[in-house]
Symmetry: D2
Subunit: 407 residues, 4 copies
């Protein structure tokens, strides 16, 4: 049995999430963005805080909190969660409202799976409560992160401390004033097996020696107050007990972490594609040129039909990948995750771009959510591995069927 | 619940079908085609008959007969049948072996649903037994069949007979010497509602006045002994009781007929895509150039990965369309059928073409099944409505969601 | 004879322009953008002014001024100018450096062709000298500008003045503090032939009643200090002698204006595509993953080859369109302009996007010119008519060959 | 100067060729194909011979003979010839009519450049006169010919003879009863530099030991009477003086031969694309569905516009490649040849496929030239090197600009 449908128990939850996204969250997106422009982009105005905390309180009150978590939420399957995450893709503030935002979900999983009790007390609890936020520092400016064995940030033991030196960038969420904790991938060895030279270590974001150099921009947008920060570490001292699992186990942890997050992005990308298609259609029905609604001009029927067909296929693939994860065999699920990691952003970008074209100049402007959505989706073709790496994984999984067959 | 998986009861049937296709049918395809070249292409050599009848007997003996039929077979759901039809796509003779070949399945459905008892005795029984074959005469040379209200073959009542005059072409299967019966779409009125001017009538293929003008070729292949015949009707007399349901009900019948057939083609197209990918990969592993297996050259990893991703998405869409049909609401299922009708041939053609390219000159030749498969798949972008018509249906279904919303 | 090559006299000019772009202009782009971030984005810092005015002085001194103009420059043909504009596409400040920037070139053409002597004295002279800048106000927020007969800004005669009311947006360059004059498309009639209800009128940018509401953003970028302004007209009074040619002749003027500008954008887009390819290749040679330079991984050879082939074809098409314009038959040249208007941005966008992907996260950031270039190119699929309108023109020109043939 | 236009002297020749193709050759194509079906497909019926010899005589009489040859024809440049070859692409019999057909043109060039005087007397003269035909045997069934150093046909010296053993296939034109001479690529060494182990040798097609095994089919078409033959050599004895240039110089000769032929195919492919577009447009204007001509439905305007834009760009690229060849630097021209070798078949295939779709079922049948044309064009993506090899050449030429730069 491969049930990819909406389960009975999921139905009311999905209705509630969809309604809240549509009726309460989406209408506040624009005001929130306007508040970001007021004063220091990296701190919150009172109204900004009011908006997001108000939404979070409502979600908590409605029992729509930590929906992503198999432990503390409704114990949803990945397939079930996919339907919710899709809805959350339809408003900028939705993932945070439900405490389902990246990179916190992945970081919470890391603490849950690999953290010590003190770590759980200090970091996991307030994260689950939505009181603090977190960042995950992986990528570095000087190495090709598509091959993560290149990672170089130095972490040397000195007595009861580790001392860190080097740079990280694209530390997503590290710009947020509420971001209290970093999980950092570091190099602890230069010898031995390639995948055992790296480690993962936890530290407060205000540890001395940590310096935020700048915010990386995404097609000109600094994405304040969330931000993708470029960070320098100069003789940063962290107690040895902050090391997760032990030296050399960085890849083990990153593997355990990456799966679900990739899928969450994909689920939300499907929602963004649906939103773009809805905007495209409404525009095509309401705008006229040459005496007809745009819908009836040129190849617009084909664009609409193709968008619908692409979305349905990508959604089903996403659900299948989620279902594979639910079966519990991570190795078997891996190529499915790679597949949807390539396909969901691809189709969502294409549909968003066509919606932009249907809107004309308005589409590229701040007057629709399309341009911002496009830029965000564009990052997904790079985040957690560029397309080329995932296609390579899919191809190798395919070839293995035959080379093993030969034996 | 939306179970798109392989049900427990289906599992052994699928294994049996797959094994028979792989081990018994596919190995005979080449010999069968060679026999077609011997003597009159439109009659069977003894060996040719032995091959196909032998396979049919085996399938019957194994209980793998009329698998498509919800009535006489295993009473499979459309989702279940999809998995079997996919396997049948992997060998030329497979659909006929299991008595699941077009246009007979569709015609049997017509007799089942709309036929009189004498019709069932005379035509349905031997069709179900695999003793005769049938054709379905729809398309005409002089009108755009994408809009079937154009159909013009004249059918005028004269006493207890109808008299037919005009031409049909692309009468698939009418070249087969075993083809005993035609179901023919005719025009019986020139006034009244557009969709009530046509009728469907049944007649033996040897009725006087019926003349096979020629076989239409598909990229140079006459597809003997099956054939797509161009047929002329000159004062062909058919008794009035051969009219199905009554005058003016042609579209009602054709609607009832077309759904499943379209889906069957799509299911098989998925199987063809899998077969092409398998051939492409084996070739890429066994052939070397510039000192490396082709698999490791240029963008070949990407072609393989993209093929896998396209197939998975199209298969899931096909299963979803099948599941929609199983829910019993034909109107709701219609846009899903249109979707897969566009997508399955599209991806199968693309993958087959890439497999051709991987084989080089051999790919375009008679030495692999790829060229023939490509030509067959190319017809599916036209058969039962060209892509443009189905995209239009999908787009209109999409737009209706918004225009009704407005009310 | 159709000479699309670099003429002997052009050769040294092109070398000089290319050298100046590469060695003097491009290295200052980043500093210029940094200055924009300092203080009020819509005014110039001293260093900002120094950069741009310094470059302009150098260009003037080198005789590389107003190169676009067949009258005041080197009297270059459109084919010749195409080679120069391509080079100008490779640095942000290059078009302005050579006084070849939009929308000023088009506006100067309008004054040249249709302006009165006082207009030439007051506006054309300082524009040609690079002392002031100008804007062209066409598009409006409330109508589909792809069909320009929709334009609605009210312009009513009242004594010796016209009185204007309404809104314009996407007034490119109107944000620049040096922008002194607007040319505005207005509606002066609601009756009569569709293409004679509009007029074009000139006014100082500081005319009372003109209010800049905001800057339109392009994928989040306000493009300060140039800007695409949203402007409201409230009882703006303009003397009747400011009307160009006379009431009802707006379309005549806009037709005369649009051709060359469209081509200039296209020429520069070719240069941008070359720049993206160069960046992509350098990156692919310098960056390693999995032990190899990126160039040798996956389908990267194919991306590079396809980019080269697309650029060569688009450049030749651009030169052919330019050559058609040089032949003097505007009607015959029109479909060629539409062709390159579609193709140049399309290929430049695709190549820029692939370069982004080769750079990974850096590609989407402020650390390469790629993201900004992509956003600029994206606007070209909409500016001066969206793709769909130009494809329609090409198709209609094609069909006319046959429908006239029939007569 | 880069003149890509139609020269004054070319103008009347092009008019004459175009008129003859349109008015005299194209109308006979269908009858010629019908004659092939009569009797033995590999010999000529009297009418078949009459058709082709009649056309050749007319071409000769009109001075339109051997137009391809810079020596014996009008001494046209490659650019000039491109315009003629394009016209020849519009009818099946056109290339042979003007004695401009492959592989004879390439073979004549080989004899011209590398042949001894006796070879010129015996083979070149009657080829130039259109009295005999020839074949060029390169590809082999057991090796990847995309890397021609794999070629294996054994050629061992034995006294005054060479003795050949092995197989060739895709010997185009070897099926023609008039094919009198073969030029064969053979392996004469297994040691030494990789590109000096092969040689090229000439022999009469009726040399004992040569056996035609079968005709390779192209999408089911044996292309009789021309044919692509699979040939076995068993102890075939050829006098040593038949060796071209000397042992080990095979690649030198094949390099000298391949350039122009590749370009000729491309030129004709442009003509085929134009023909497909013309057919597509006529169909779209004459056929109606849903009450409108097809031209006005769905995305058909876009298909027509895109086809026009693709053709113009490919034609210009083809002319540029021809112009590069005319400059006399073969090394500089090589990547241009690779570019058009990829692009011309690609766009011609795509446009032909869209024309097929516009025709519906008729498009895939024998009733239009489209299906046959598609199959022929499909071979061009493989002949003289598959796309992947040419893209690789283009990419490497591109990368060399940077790696040399570094030194």
């Amino acid at each position: 049995m491969m049930d990819l449908g909406i389960s009975q128990r999921l139905h009311p939850i999905r209705e509630a999430v969809a309604a809240m996204v549509r009726d309460e969250i989406a209408p506040l997106d624009a005001e929130y963005f306007a508040e970001v422009e007021v004063g220091d982009r990296w701190s919150f105005t009172p109204r900004q805080r009011e908006i997001i905390e108000g939404l979070k309180a409502k979600a908590k009150a409605a029992g729509l909190w930590n929906l992503w978590s198999p432990v503390t939420g409704h114990a949803l399957s990945t397939v079930e969660y996919a339907y919710l995450a899709e809805e959350m893709g339809k408003a900028h503030l939705a993932p945070e409202t439900f405490n389902c935002n990246a990179p916190d979900t992945g970081n919470m999983e890391v603490f849950e799976k690999y953290g010590t009790d003190p770590m759980k007390d200090r970091w996991l609890k307030p994260l689950l409560a939505g009181e603090i936020r977190s960042a995950y520092l992986m990528t570095e400016p000087d190495v090709a992160s598509s091959d993560a064995t290149n990672i170089a940030l130095s972490c040397v033991r000195d007595g009861d401390d580790y001392v860190l030196n080097g740079e990280k960038w694209w530390a997503t969420g590290a710009g947020d004033p509420r971001c209290a904790v970093y999980i950092v991938m570091v190099r602890t060895a230069h010898e031995g097996p390639k995948h055992q030279q790296h480690s993962m270590i936890v530290m407060p974001s205000d540890t001395p020696g940590i310096e935020k150099l700048r915010a990386m921009e995404v097609y000109g947008d600094d994405e304040a107050p969330h931000g993708h920060m470029h960070i320098r570490f100069t003789d940063v001292r962290v107690p040895v007990e902050n090391m997760l699992l032990g030296e050399g186990r960085g890849f083990e942890i990153s593997q355990g972490r990456l799966g679900p997050g990739r899928i969450h992005h994909c689920m939300r990308a499907i929602g963004m594609a649906e939103k773009a298609l809805a905007l495209m259609i409404r525009r095509s029905l309401s705008r006229e040129a040459f005496g007809k609604p745009l819908a009836q001009l040129g190849g617009n029927y084909d664009y609409i039909a193709n968008a619908r067909m692409q979305i349905e296929q990508a959604r089903l693939l996403c659900l299948k990948a989620a279902w594979m994860m639910d079966q519990g065999d991570a190795r078997a699920a891996a190529p499915w995750i790679s597949q949807i990691k390539v396909e969901a952003p691809r189709i969502a970008l294409e549909i968003t771009d066509q919606a932009v074209q249907m809107f004309g100049a308005q589409g590229i402007s701040q007057d629709t959510p399309l341009a911002r959505q496009w830029a965000h989706l564009r990052t997904l073709r790079l985040a957690d591995g560029p397309d080329a790496v995932h296609r390579r994984q899919v191809a190798r999984a395919e070839l293995r069927k035959y080379t093993q067959e030969k034996v």
